[in-house]
């Protein structure tokens, strides 16, 4: 059975690694649903957070292949109930609508979204949360016209420890 997995990869920060990791998915014909790269809790160690749908048998093998890369320190996979995760979305909307369509103010208030910036032409709303929350806000705003929309890849932290510092010491 295919499930959604969040794969966390701790790596050295070297060019070319993104390509190598992406190739591992491509070779197995697995589509990456989202990908985020950032620094991690350890100095000079970067972290990829990748979301993809596959069977547990596949994800185990895939993580094994990822860990085999020389510059990968450790990789983990988690199901949604094992992690705290979020995405952030930005919605750019025409400023005139704030005054012409008063309902928009209620939508923003109700959704606990933040207004990031306002200028005479447009304003930008930021919403952080689960996919369904950013999606719901999108659906509510769409009828009024969204000038631009963008959403980050998933970021997550695991409920249990990942012990990367220990891994590094052992290597």
């Amino acid at each position: 059975m295919e499930e959604l997995f969040t794969i966390s990869v701790y790596t050295e920060n070297n060019p070319g690694l993104l390509n190598r990791i992406a190739t591992i998915f491509l070779k197995r014909h697995i589509n990456i649903e989202s990908l985020n790269v950032s620094k991690s809790e350890i100095e000079n160690v970067h972290r990829f957070t990748i979301v993809a749908r596959m069977t547990e048998v596949s994800v185990k093998k895939l993580v094994g292949q990822i860990e085999k890369q020389i510059e990968v320190i450790k990789a983990y996979y988690h199901r949604d109930d094992e992690i705290i995760f979020h995405e952030t979305a930005l919605y750019k909307i025409a400023s005139s609508l704030l005054f012409e369509k008063r309902e928009i103010q209620n939508i923003i208030k109700k959704s606990h979204a933040t207004i990031v910036t306002v200028n005479p032409k447009f304003f930008v709303i930021e919403k952080t949360g689960f996919r369904k929350e950013t999606e719901a806000l999108y659906d509510e705003l769409a009828p009024y016209g969204i000038m631009q929309f963008v959403r980050t890849g998933r970021i997550s932290v695991s409920k249990t420890e990942m012990r990367i510092s220990e891994q590094l010491k052992n290597l």
């Binding site: 790596t11 050295e12 070297n14 060019p15 070319g16 390509n19 190598r20 190739t23 070779k27 185990k60 093998k61 094994g64 292949q65 860990e67 085999k68 020389i70 510059e71 990968v72 320190i73 590094l168 052992n170 290597l171």
Partner: protein
């Protein structure tokens, strides 16, 4: 503490770093973006011998042949663009066959990167999926550390090819040179820890087994664990079979050597894979050519898997006990826990299957009654002359399967062939590298008439270097393996498998290589004798029965126990 440094060029640093790693032989082909390195090779030619091949693919296969027989890291050099892309087939071959290589490619100057400059190719991206590691160096001072890391990664753990792409400005620029060998990379653990509990669990399974069966692969050779393997199988009395790349780790005539597994493996090992109660896989990776369909592969057996690569565990076959670690270490450590045993009745089952196979397949190959020559009898004739002491190189196709089935081996690291990738054109250049790696040993390359023509330009390398390689072209005027499949599965529609060949004798003679053609059985023994007696390179063409097939055979998608004898 500061190391002593010297101010030298990046390209001199390349050559000095190679020398510091003990490399005194490199294969390659010059070109614009690597000229500064070649200029230094000219200056250092007394210390580092460079072999000019006739194609970059020839260079890398030669480096592979060298690495396979010596266990050392093979080194090859190529220029940017087409030079680099011509290495890719060999890199992919070395990756899937775990061969340690360091490939150095020249690259356009760093200010030209990304401009589609002359002979610019993104070789880092192209080679990423088929290298163990690769890196682009754009600064002279990064060269020694990159080469040190490359050698460490190529040869440690499960070996593999590494590529270093060096921009021309980095070659031309200067640096303060000092060399320090790389002994660790913080994100890379070459050898996983061995779990003693798993080791004991494996021993318990082996000790309790009534019908244990060992299948070993190249991991035994790469780990230099031949003696440990022999000690284990002799103490436990376990019939043992090999994969194509495991061949020569155990002498052919060892009483517990029951032959080869897989698509064209021996009858008993395939049949009995599905009857053993404990299957002990050592340094092998359950390739599809070994297992046939996984649905019915050894389902009745408990599976123990010894491997250095954690990603191999459960990749294809679910294991009951996985013993991670270096094969020499793990096989050595398990021995004290193993009870002495003999499994005579079980071993006899293999012998009975061998008798059936002798009757149906082996005798007709080795003692043919038909007029046409068989590949098996040619290989057997070479066995007689070399006493099984030669390094045997084979290309890819029918002749390769005949070679691994019929060639005799007394010594490890003597079987050089393209296993995982199945690269036609591998054998001739690989044989040149093998001969240079083991100059005192006889090197015989068996090659089909198809594969030979993929890299026969390397006869020029033999001409220039005098490498005393013995070349045997087994000529059936077909791309034989594909033809066999067309016969069996495509109603004999021989699409593009018929070969109109040139005069191979004239071709060899054009390169000043003594050449003989054999078309009749009575001429075979004399020609082989003359070839082996020669201390120079020698070309022997043997005309083979045109539509002979390799058997036994496990058809694609079939079960190993459905192995066919005809």
């Amino acid at each position: 503490m500061s190391l002593k440094t010297e101010r030298i060029s990046g390209s001199e640093a390349v050559v000095r770093s190679l020398l510091a790693e003990g490399a005194d032989l490199a294969y390659g082909y010059p070109g614009g973006a690597i000229m500064p390195i070649y200029d230094e090779l000219y200056k250092y030619q007394d210390k580092l011998h460079h072999v000019l091949t006739r194609h970059e693919q020839g260079a890398i296969h030669a480096a592979q042949g060298f690495a396979r027989v010596t266990g050392k890291v093979g080194v090859c050099l190529a220029t940017s663009g087409p030079g680099a892309t011509n290495l890719i087939t060999g890199i992919a071959d070395a990756q899937i066959d775990s061969t340690p290589l360091v490939c150095i490619t020249g690259q356009v100057a760093s200010h030209l990167l990304g401009t589609d400059a002359f002979q610019e190719t993104d070789v880092i991206s192209i080679s990423a999926p088929v290298t163990k590691w690769n890196v682009q160096v754009t600064k002279s001072q990064d060269i020694p550390a990159a080469i040190a890391k490359a050698f460490f990664i190529a040869k440690s753990g499960r070996p593999g090819p590494v590529l270093i792409d060096i921009t021309k400005d980095a070659q031309l620029g200067e640096l303060d040179y000092s060399y320090e060998k790389c002994t660790s990379v913080r994100s890379y653990k070459p050898i996983p820890d061995t779990n003693v509990e798993q080791l004991k669990a494996a021993a318990e399974l082996i000790n309790g087994a009534k019908k244990p069966f060992i299948v070993f692969g190249q991991g035994v050779i790469l780990g230099e664990a031949e003696a440990e393997l022999k000690a284990l199988i002799e103490k436990a009395g376990i019939p043992s079979a090999w994969t194509v790349l495991g061949l020569s780790a155990l002498p052919t005539n060892h009483y517990l050597n029951v032959g080869m597994v897989g698509m064209h493996g021996h009858y008993g090992p395939n049949k009995l894979t599905n009857e053993c109660d404990v299957l002990i896989a050592i340094g092998m990776r359950f390739d599809d050519r070994v297992t046939g369909t996984l649905e019915t592969y050894a389902k009745q057996a408990k599976v123990i898997h010894f491997d250095i690569d954690p990603a191999e565990i459960d990749k294809n076959v679910k294991t009951d006990v996985a013993v991670l670690g270096d094969s020499k270490d793990t096989l050595g450590k398990i021995l004290p826990f193993i009870n002495e045993n003999k499994h005579e009745e079980w071993h006899n089952e293999f012998k009975r299957y061998r008798e059936i196979e002798n009757e149906a397949v082996i005798n007709p190959q080795l003692k043919p009654t038909k007029e046409g020559l068989t590949m098996g009898e040619v290989i057997n004739q070479v066995n007689k002359e070399t006493k099984g002491d030669a390094i045997i190189v084979s290309d890819v196709g029918q002749h390769q399967m005949f070679t691994v089935r019929y060639a005799d081996f007394t010594t490890t690291r003597s079987n050089v062939t393209s296993g995982g990738l199945g690269t036609m054109g591998f054998a001739l250049p690989a044989a040149i590298g093998a001969k240079m790696g083991a100059p005192k040993r006889e090197v015989v390359a068996f090659i089909g008439d198809g594969g030979y023509q993929m890299t026969c330009q390397e006869l020029g390398t033999i001409l220039q270097t005098g490498a005393a390689v013995k070349i045997v072209v087994l000529n059936n005027e077909f791309l034989g393996m594909v033809r066999q499949w067309q016969q069996l599965f495509f109603d004999k529609r021989y699409a593009s498998t018929v070969m109109t060949n040139p005069d191979f004798i004239k071709l060899a003679e054009a390169y000043d290589i003594q050449a003989t053609k054999v078309s009749k059985r009575e001429d075979l023994a004399g020609a082989v004798k003359e070839m082996i007696a020669s201390d120079k390179s020698y070309f022997l063409e043997v005309m083979i029965e045109k539509e002979d097939n390799v058997f036994p055979m496990v058809p694609t998608g079939a079960s190993v126990s459905d192995v066919r004898l005809s």
